[in-house]
C-alpha cells in the first residue's frame, strides 16, 4: 500500500514538470490554433545558451535562469515571425466566418516550425558539441520523510510551482481585460478586430510569453538534473504535447490535469512493466483520450459553436 502511494506521489510530482513544459505549448495552440513543433527546440537552444554561459563564464544560477528565459522569449519571437505571423488568418483576406485551418495554412505553419526545430537544434549542438553538458544544479540531495513516504523537496517544489503557475495563469486569463482580449482573439479573429482589439500584437506577445514559459520550464527541470543533453528538445516537445493534448489542447487548466495524469500513468506503468512500459503507457493513454467516446460531444459543440 505504501509502495503504491509512493508511486502515486512520485508520478504526480513528475507530472508537475510535464504540465510546466506543456503550458507554453497549450497557450500557443490556444491563441493561434497552431501547433508549434519548434517549441522543444526553442527551450533546448535557450537552455544551451544558459549552459554555455555557465561553462565558459561560470555564471551564477540566477543569471543562467534569466538568460534561458530571455533567450527562449527572443527565439520564440523569431519562430513566430518566421512560421506563424504570415500563416495566421490575414484580416484583409478574411471573408464571412473564417474557420481556423480551412485553407491549409496551418499545415504550412506546422511544416515550417518543423524546419525551424531542426535549425535550432543544430545551432544548439554546434554551440556545445558534447553530448552531456553541465547545467547549474539546484538539486537538494536530502529527501523529506513524510511518514512512510519519501519526497524529494526540489521536485516537489517544481510541481507546486507548476500547479500555482498554471492555475494562476488560468484565473488571470479568465478575469483580466488582457485575458479577455487574448481569449477573444483566439476565439474569433475577425470579431476581435471588430470590437477594436489589437489582434496581431496580442498574438505576438502571447507567443513570446508562451516561449518565456518554456524557458522557465527548461531551467527549472534541467537545474534538478544539473545537466543537459541534445535529447532535451525532443523530450520537452513530446511530454509537453502529450500533457497538453490529454488536458485538451489550448486549455490552460487542462494542461495541469493532463500533466499530472501523464506522470501518474507513467509512474504506475514503470513499476509494473519497466522503463519501456513507461513510454508505451503514455502513448496508449494519449490514444485512448483521442479516440474516447466523450470527445464526440465536444466536437458536436465545436461544430455548433463556430458560426457559418
Amino acid at each position: 500500500m505504501t509502495d503504491l502511494l509512493q508511486l502515486v506521489v512520485d508520478g504526480l510530482i513528475d507530472g508537475g514538470a510535464y504540465a510546466l513544459i506543456g503550458l507554453g505549448l497549450s497557450l500557443t495552440f490556444g491563441s493561434l490554433r497552431r501547433l508549434n513543433l519548434a517549441y522543444g527546440a526553442t527551450a533546448m537552444l535557450a537552455a544551451y545558451l544558459g549552459a554555455w554561459l555557465y561553462a565558459t563564464q561560470q555564471a551564477p544560477a540566477w543569471l543562467v535562469a534569466v538568460t534561458v528565459i530571455v533567450a527562449a522569449t527572443l527565439i520564440g519571437w523569431y519562430v513566430e515571425r518566421l512560421c506563424f505571423a504570415c500563416t495566421t488568418q490575414d484580416a484583409t483576406q478574411a471573408r464571412g466566418a473564417p474557420v481556423a485551418g480551412a485553407d491549409g495554412r496551418e499545415v504550412v505553419a506546422l511544416a515550417s516550425s518543423f524546419a525551424i526545430w531542426m535549425q535550432l537544434e543544430q545551432l544548439a549542438v554546434n554551440l556545445l558539441p558534447r553530448h552531456l553538458n553541465a547545467f547549474p544544479s539546484l538539486a537538494v540531495s536530502q529527501d523529506w520523510q513524510l511518514g512512510e513516504l519519501m519526497v524529494r523537496p526540489d521536485r516537489m517544489g517544481l510541481a507546486v510551482m507548476a500547479a500555482a503557475l498554471t492555475l494562476g495563469l488560468a484565473a488571470w486569463l479568465e478575469r483580466s481585460r488582457i485575458g479577455l482580449s487574448w481569449r477573444a482573439s483566439a476565439d474569433h479573429r475577425i470579431a476581435a478586430h471588430l470590437v477594436g482589439m489589437p489582434v496581431e500584437r496580442l498574438q505576438t506577445v502571447g507567443f513570446a510569453a508562451a516561449c518565456a514559459l518554456s524557458g522557465l520550464a527548461a531551467f527549472s527541470i534541467l537545474s534538478l538534473d544539473g545537466q543537459v543533453t541534445p535529447m532535451f528538445g525532443m523530450w520537452a516537445l513530446l511530454k509537453g504535447l502529450v500533457a497538453a493534448m490529454l488536458g485538451g489542447l489550448g486549455s490552460v487548466r487542462g494542461v495541469l490535469w493532463g500533466g499530472l495524469l501523464l506522470g501518474l500513468v507513467e509512474s504506475l506503468a514503470q513499476a509494473s512493466f519497466g522503463a519501456q512500459g513507461r513510454e508505451f503507457a503514455s502513448y496508449a493513454l494519449l490514444f485512448v483520450v483521442l479516440v474516447a467516446p466523450w470527445r464526440r460531444s465536444r466536437e458536436r459543440f465545436l461544430a455548433t459553436a463556430v458560426p457559418g
Binding site: 484580416a91 482589439m197 459553436a305 458560426p307
Partner: protein, 242 residues
Amino acid sequence: MLEIQELATAYGKIEALKGVSLSAKAGQVTCLLGPNGAGKSTLMLTLAGILKPQRGSVKFEGEELVGRAPAQIVARGLALVPENRLVFPALTVRENLMAGAYKRRDMAGIRSDIDAMFVRFPRLKERIEQLAGTLSGGEQQMLAVARALMSRPRLLLMDEPSVGLAPMVVAEIFSIIRQLHQEGVSLFIVEQNAHMALKVAQHFYLMEQGRVSFSGSPGQMADDDLIQRAYLGQQRPQTVES
C-alpha cells in the same frame, strides 16, 4: 454623417466594389438593398476597416477612415454588427458584452450599459453565463447587436441582421432597430429582406454588381419592382429563343 466616395475594394483581381458613393445622415435609418454578390458585405467590412479598399474615401463626421485600423474606427464611434453575427462562441454572453466595450475604460459606465442591454434584451439576461456558441441564431443576433452597442457607437452598421432567422425573430430584430432609431442612434443597414427594411428606413440605396444603381426614399419606386431587384438583381432584357 457618413460620406462614401468612389469606394473600390477587390479580392485579388476580382473587384467586388467598383466605385461606390453613398451617404448616411445623422439620426436616420439608411438601408442598402441588393441581391447576393452585389458587394454589400464587402462594403460593410471595408467601412469597419477589415478590408482595405483600392481607392475611394470614407468620411465619418468629416474624418477620413480609409487606411485606419478597425480599432481606430471603433474608437471613433462606428460599430459593425457583422454578417453571420460572429459572436465569440467560446466566451460567455457577459464576456461577449465586455469584449464589445474593449475600447472603453469607464468600468462603471460599462457595468451600467451591460445592465441596460439586459433590459433591452431580456433573453440575454437569462443566458448571461452561457457560452455564446450555444445560443440560438436569434439570440446570437441580439448578442451581436448588444456587443456592438457596448462601444457606444454614434453610427451602427448592421449587415443582414435578419438572415437565417425565423419570421418572429426578424420582427423582433426590426422592432429593436426602430427603438434604436427613436433613441437617436444613426443606423446603416444592409438587408436582403427589402420588405422589412423599407418599413424602417428613411432613405435607401440599391446596389447591384458592385455599384449603387438607385437611391431614394421608400415609396419612390414601385415597391414590387424594387423588391424584385433587391432579391434577384436587375432583370436582363428577355431573350426568347426556341
